[in-house]
């Protein structure tokens, strides 16, 4: 009987657990270790942050789902991994005691650790808000609603939304949050009392850490998808503050450095800034008790996989196969990383270093969809290894689809959303003979009501799938 341990029950870990449990849960021992007893549908926290949904609408209990799939569930935090002896140490939530959990295969699917400390003054415990976790999204909602009350009393407020570190990723979430704030304030009749500022480390509006999305228009013309995003921001009266890496935040001001190396500051009354993300927090020890984390992870804590690391950006652009295919650790082949936890070989956006030596480069995004796909690939490969001794599945980010839907209001009648379909996420110039390196039939950027329907459809079907309800396997990640 093989033992599979999955650390983390987010999009990647939960997807892996469902596939593993469904295929081999009755014959083998599958265990999920997760800090919380609930699954959180992170994309909905954009709406939670303005009070458009209740917290309980975005979560569900994990244990009943895992019972259906014959998967064991341990609520707790992993404190160390011992890959030579194949066990992890867990600090269990209920008893508070430490336990050792053995494995034959380990899936690290911890998601991103939000590294607020990388930017002094950043984070929900300091001066800025965050929608990256359930508790912080609730706090952001409460602060936002207090701000709305001030606006109702006639006070003018300045809201700054964006990235809070020069290397931060996930600009899409910040963009969606600010467009929803615009829609919400408009609906509440206080939009004229708010100045909305989108502060980002992107080189241009619409970069989103994927080097922008160019699309083909009728007649075969290539158009910059970012122009549509730009136009939407103009329509919404959002001030664009681009090419800026946030260095520090205090009670009243946000301090940044721009691409040209100039330093500046922004006042704010409310700020939601996405921090730098880091990988795993726990160390890896060898059989002698020596810390070997640097052999298993990159300096950012992301677990090394079967990619090619150390290429320059120019080389990486020409080498789509540098991106991991099966997410297996080269040092320890029974360790896999899924979702945000795997180490990308480099950024997708063009890196930029200022004259002061500050790197202002959007990180490679790994959305829920990407994480789910990687979780499935890893699970299917582990099933392969257990049953046949060899892996048959692979999917690089240079072969993978991403759909990003940035809603502007939740209404299905007069709402709207910008839909970005990117295929593949990492441009592959060897496969697609165009300047963009992407499938231009599939790759689209569109704005309209259909986006709001698509967003609702995706949320409903994903939650159905993640609860393991009937037909879950036929719903794509």
């Amino acid at each position: 009987m093989a033992k599979v341990v999955i650390i983390g029950a987010g999009f990647a870990g939960h997807t892996a657990a469902m596939y593993l449990g469904d295929a081999i849960g009755k014959e083998h021992d599958i265990t999920v270790i997760h800090k919380f007893d609930i699954f959180g549908f992170v994309p909905s926290w954009v709406w939670l942050g303005i009070g458009a949904v209740k917290p309980e609408e975005t979560t569900f209990k994990l244990k009943p789902v895992y019972d259906k799939f014959n998967v064991n569930f341990v609520q707790g935090t992993v404190t160390s991994v011992h890959p030579d002896e194949n066990y992890v140490i867990v600090n269990q939530a209920n008893s508070g005691g430490e336990a050792s959990v053995e494995y034959d295969y380990l899936v690290v699917a911890t998601g991103a650790h939000m590294n607020y400390d990388a930017t002094p003054g950043l984070g929900p415990k300091k001066f800025t808000e965050s929608i990256c976790h359930l508790d912080s999204a609730i706090q952001a909602r409460d602060s936002y609603l207090q701000l709305v009350e001030k606006m109702k009393r006639g006070e003018r407020q300045r809201l700054v939304i964006g990235t809070g570190h020069p290397m931060a990723a996930c600009q899409g979430a910040a963009f969606e949050y600010i467009t929803n704030i615009h829609a919400d304030l408009t609906q509440r009749g206080v939009r004229d009392k708010a100045e909305l500022v989108y502060l980002t480390n992107e080189p241009a509006i619409g970069d989103f850490g994927v080097n922008g999305i160019n699309v083909v228009k009728p007649g075969g013309r290539i158009a910059r998808g970012g122009d549509l995003i730009d136009a939407a921001m103009d329509d919404f009266g959002i001030v664009k503050s681009i090419r800026r890496g946030v260095k520090e935040v205090d009670e009243k001001k946000i301090y940044w450095e721009d691409f040209e190396g100039n330093f500046g500051e922004d006042d704010y009354d409310f700020a939601m800034l996405i921090p730098q993300s880091r990988g795993v927090k726990f160390p890896f020890f060898d059989k002698n008790g020596e810390d070997i984390s640097s052999k298993v992870t990159n300096p950012g804590g992301f677990v090394l996989a079967d990619g090619i690391y150390g290429l320059s950006y120019d080389e990486l652009v020409k080498t789509p196969d540098a991106w991991p295919a099966n997410y297996q650790n080269p040092q320890y082949p029974n360790i896999f990383s899924a979702g945000i936890a795997f180490a990308p070989p480099g950024p997708i956006s063009v890196p930029h270093v200022t004259k002061n030596g500050t790197s202002i480069t959007p990180g490679a995004p790994r959305t829920g969809m990407i994480s789910g796909v990687i979780g499935r690939v890893v699970a299917l490969n582990i099933i392969d290894l257990i049953k046949e001794g060899r892996m048959t599945h692979h999917e690089r980010m240079s072969e993978m689809l991403a759909v990003c839907i940035a809603s502007n209001g939740k209404s299905l009648w007069n709402g709207s959303a910008i839909v970005m379909i990117i295929y593949p996420i990492v441009p592959d110039h060897t496969r697609y003979d165009n300047k963009e390196g992407r499938d231009l039939f599939v790759t689209r950027v569109e704005r309209g009501l259909s986006g709001a329907w698509l967003k609702q459809m995706v949320e409903t079907t994903f939650m159905h799938k993640f609860k393991g309800n009937i037909g879950w396997k036929y719903i794509p990640e």
Partner: protein
């Protein structure tokens, strides 16, 4: 390329948006089909 007046009309036209909803789903399914076979 910024949206024209026609583009803006299309964004709000519900019949056109039904059509786009279908098309966008088909585009997604095309790429997902490749993904599922990986």
């Amino acid at each position: 390329m910024r949206p024209t007046q026609l583009d803006r009309f299309k964004m709000k036209c519900k019949i056109y948006q039904v059509w786009r909803f279908v098309v966008l789903n088909l585009k997604i399914l095309k790429a997902v089909d490749h993904s599922k076979r990986a």
